[in-house]
């Protein structure tokens, strides 16, 4: 979305720019406006902090280990394949 209009971005638009901001895909001008808004807006600052926290927590989801049963199943797949099956 273009932010070439007024220098001030309303909070409602700031929250839509958060992903582009974190991805580093905002233009320099938009990034400046975004950061300028954050500097004066504790609510959007809290929002961005919540988003970072959300990403940190999502990144810590532990994958499920392969169960012993599945390990045996994949070992069998491998053996069948090696036997030319």
């Amino acid at each position: 979305m273009s932010l070439l209009g007024p220098a001030e971005i309303p909070c409602q638009e700031v929250v839509e720019l958060v992903t582009d901001y974190l991805e580093g895909t905002l233009s320099r001008g938009d990034r400046r406006r975004f950061e300028h808004h954050l500097a004066g807006c504790p609510h959007c600052t809290a929002y961005l902090a919540q988003m970072r926290e959300t990403l940190r927590l999502t990144g810590r989801l532990i994958p499920e280990d392969l169960s012993p049963e599945m390990q045996r199943e994949f070992a069998a797949i491998y053996e069948r394949w090696q036997a030319g099956g």
């Binding site: 409602q12 929250v15 992903t19 902090a49 990144g59 989801l61 199943e73 797949i77």
Partner: protein, 218 residues
């Protein structure tokens, strides 16, 4: 800079991980069954979760993963190392899952015209677009407030409610730690599409956690 920390102890950095995978691949090529089971173990959870965004049944998703590994065994010499092993595996999986989904004739709708969904409900802003119901700073660690088990359940439940492609993008980026360009390659998306899906998915996740944090306070 990524804000995601890899939670895999073997993925301390990408170069390390890549060297490690190359060693496993070499062992696999020389006929080492244990290397195969190790590789499967590392990638199985991601592959199964991704397969489930294409097919409905858990059993069919498991079949897709198994077929993918068989395909990998047959074509292991075709892996040229131009992408990471994980990206290569996931791209093969997506091809299989798409054709299986088509055979099943129950494929989850590819994109589903979701239309514009705001990151935050418009009722929380006033007419000028300023917050009228602002988010509160999470002063306490989220894990402390709601507990690790409940937190995991919340995140999984929020993921499960997302449209399939949104869920696939968020899981690949934020759970599995793939880069944006890798996700585009795996799911055949444009960078802009990838960011839109990521944005919507992440916004939902944040909202789900905010709701949970507020529920825990009350």
């Amino acid at each position: 800079m990524s804000v995601i920390q890899f939670r895999f102890p073997w993925v301390r950095d990408r170069a390390d991980a890549a060297r490690d995978e190359i060693r496993l691949l070499e062992r696999l090529r020389s006929g080492d069954e244990e290397a195969f089971v190790t590789l499967v173990g590392r990638h199985h959870d991601s592959m199964l979760r991704l397969a489930k965004t294409f097919v409905h049944s858990h059993a069919v998703a498991e079949e897709v993963v198994q077929e993918t590994w068989l395909g990998v065994l047959r074509g292991i010499d075709r892996f040229e190392g131009r992408s990471s092993l994980r990206t290569w595996l996931l791209a093969i999986l997506v091809n299989r899952a798409r054709s299986t989904g088509a055979r099943e004739a129950r494929t989850i709708p590819a994109s589903g015209p979701e239309g514009f969904v705001p990151a935050v409900d418009s009722s929380r802003f006033d007419a000028s677009g300023a917050w009228s119901s602002p988010p509160e700073a999470w002063e306490e660690a989220v894990e402390d407030r709601i507990g690790a088990t409940a937190l995991r359940a919340e995140i999984l439940s929020a993921l499960a409610k997302m449209p399939a492609r949104q869920r696939a993008v968020v899981m690949l980026r934020d759970v599995d730690g793939l880069r944006g360009d890798e996700v585009c390659q795996v799911l055949d998306l444009t960078p802009v599409n990838e960011r839109v899906l990521l944005h919507r998915g992440r916004s939902r996740l944040r909202q789900a956690l905010e709701d949970t944090m507020q529920g825990a306070t009350a």
